[in-house]
Symmetry: C2
């Protein structure tokens, strides 16, 4: 027992990351890689509670570092909303909104491609979850007009659309759902965890009531960090204050990311604001890469032509290999890692997900060549 | 508008902390200063979601980095509990427990010295808050026997004790309250945000049902980070899983600190585990420092002899000065900063709070000399 503890303690004193120098195609990670400014800020504000040096009671109103300007000026502009705040992440933002607007037993209508945390946040609130189906294999499209009959049948307190979803990178017609939601007077949440910080998006143009983004997924921030934008009319509901402590917002428990995640979110923001302007280049890069992988016998799932860097492929040819090698599904992870590439979930071979967001064309060419070499090796 | 935005963006690209090289006496910060191992880990795992490279569905079960060992082996030993998990911080842990064990309209009994977030977490859950009073100025002691009549009158679903409180650094008789809670069969939460990681503490020895700690306040971690320990019998209630996603705990929304705060918590842990063994030195240092400041005319509030590094002083002599200087209450902050010292909340002079935890005796001597010099300057 003593010996085991001391071995474990030793491991903790030197934590190293295996995947550091590799070409990163991991869908969860490609939008969350830090800028140099964020890395510097990480050390500068690493010590616990150092963002709170000049707090006068409300994190989002701190002037030094300039949190107030970031939250109250820059974020609303960026999100196309009237009021913004910061959260621990997209899932915590979803829970905040659900917990503020709905009661246990109420219903929420979500798309079938929703992230698992949408379901868990609804469970934590005690909501009935009704799903708008997708079109199934291979495109898994969500047709937003299918919200209408379900809205009329279940009278949900909230509707949510995942834009894009994390499984297929599909971009449903969010704007049309905005019109539908307004017509039915039902508050509408856009979960833009893979949109905000990658591509141009505006809550106002979509006609949603809430927009949610993820710092660690798509805003070049360390985790956990998120942003939540809303219409002014929801401010008093979602950002309602404590009866006893007038500066403290109840759903934020006073304050949320009181540490480095907020600092990296801020330090990377100028770069993130700029990079969304180049989204068309990201889309054409993803389309080119997808076409190249399809030439190797992989089948891209989700919408075609694809409009996002999140890509999901069926890979029957890899699956056949995995059945006859010692490492089973792990062979793909191992073979790619040996070639300096990190992306598909270790153990997966039947189908795999990649994101082309952080790699340039030259790196992606080396990825394509690596897939070719792996297929040759085992054929 | 454009010009203002561009000025704000420029500020974000170079975030610097003013208080970096100073002697740190800030009560919120002295227990959260990073170890060298944690600083290295910060850079290593800075990129968003890099702790999740080898996730198989549950953050607390990740093997590389060794989160599973940390959460399921080391933390329960350290906290003296059967089951542990990680949270965004102490306030989020309190909300998790309240939200799991109580319903809107239920009552919770807390000490009058509780942190404001205890109140806000209870408000978020919809609970009635009943407070056990303290003895008032100057000691503000909480006598735990006063829980008994209030427990009998209000039949609370939960009781909570702040150990120590953040205002006076008082350590009430937590163990006796453990006996009382068990006798009445009411679940008992110890909020040890200023204990866990500073001083030896064991949930089991206290006889509590839950123990809560704060990474950024007392475990040499960046924020936000917290720990929650509990009796095994509460695991299925507080860590209940999603009906749809069997690996995902509902109150954690699947997972909590998916990023560097967890990594710094782990990297600093061997040091933190060691430092609590030297708590007696911390207490004698605090007592000596308090006695020296009292010689200057400040009056230490809270328990005497004091048993914690959190110190609160009434300072009538500083208040008199603040009334006749241009900077008003800010003169103390300014004078100390010029002397390389950071601690009392800017603007406060009538009374101030300090923590002696991170400074050594030599540094504290220079603090005492600085107070003397400031008093001389204005006398």
């Amino acid at each position: 027992m003593e010996q085991k503890s001391s071995r474990l303690l030793q491991k903790l004193s030197r934590l190293r990351r295996e995947h550091k120098e590799l070409i990163n195609l991991m869908p969860l990670q490609t939008g969350g890689m830090l800028t140099e400014a964020a890395k510097e800020a990480l050390i500068e504000f690493g010590d616990g509670y150092s963002v709170c040096d000049f707090c006068e009671g409300t994190l989002c109103n701190v002037i030094n570092p300039p949190i107030r300007d970031f939250v109250h000026e820059l974020l609303p502009q960026f999100l196309g909303c009237e009021v913004a705040t910061i959260t621990h992440g997209a899932r915590e933002a979803k829970f905040m909104v659900m917990h503020s607007l709905a009661k246990p037993g109420d219903s929420i209508l979500v798309d079938a491609n929703r992230h698992y945390t949408t379901v868990v946040a609804a469970e934590r609130t005690g909501l009935n979850i009704i799903e708008v189906p997708n079109s199934g294999h291979p495109e898994f499209r969500v047709d937003v007009s299918e919200y209408v009959p379900l809205m009329e049948k279940h009278a949900p307190k909230l509707i949510l659309l995942t834009y894009p979803d994390g499984n297929y990178g599909n971009l449903p017609d969010a704007r049309r759902l905005g019109e539908i939601a307004q017509g039915h007077n039902i508050p509408y949440i856009i979960n833009g965890a893979y949109a905000v910080g990658r591509m141009p998006i505006s809550m106002d143009e979509i006609g949603a009531d809430f927009i949610i983004g993820s710092g660690h997924k798509s805003m070049a921030s360390t985790g956990p960090a998120g942003v939540l934008g809303m219409k002014k009319k929801w401010e008093e509901t979602v950002l309602r204050r404590s009866g006893k402590y007038g500066k403290k917002e109840i759903e934020l428990l006073g304050c949320t990311i009181r540490g480095v995640p907020l600092i990296t979110l801020m330090a990377s923001f100028p770069y993130v604001k700029e990079r969304v302007q180049h989204w068309d280049e990201q889309v054409s890069k993803a389309q080119w890469f997808s076409a190249e992988l399809e030439k190797l016998g992989f089948i891209q799932l989700g919408e075609k032509p694809h409009r996002h860097d999140l890509l999901h492929f069926d890979a029957p040819v890899l699956y056949e290999i995995s059945k006859r090698v010692r490492e089973r599904g792990y062979f793909l992870y191992k073979e790619l890692k040996e070639r300096g590439i990190w992306g598909p979930q270790p153990g997966m071979a039947k189908s795999f997900k990649l994101s082309t967001f952080a790699a340039d064309r030259q790196q992606l060419e080396s990825v394509i060549d690596s897939f070719k070499a792996i297929l040759n090796k085992y054929s």
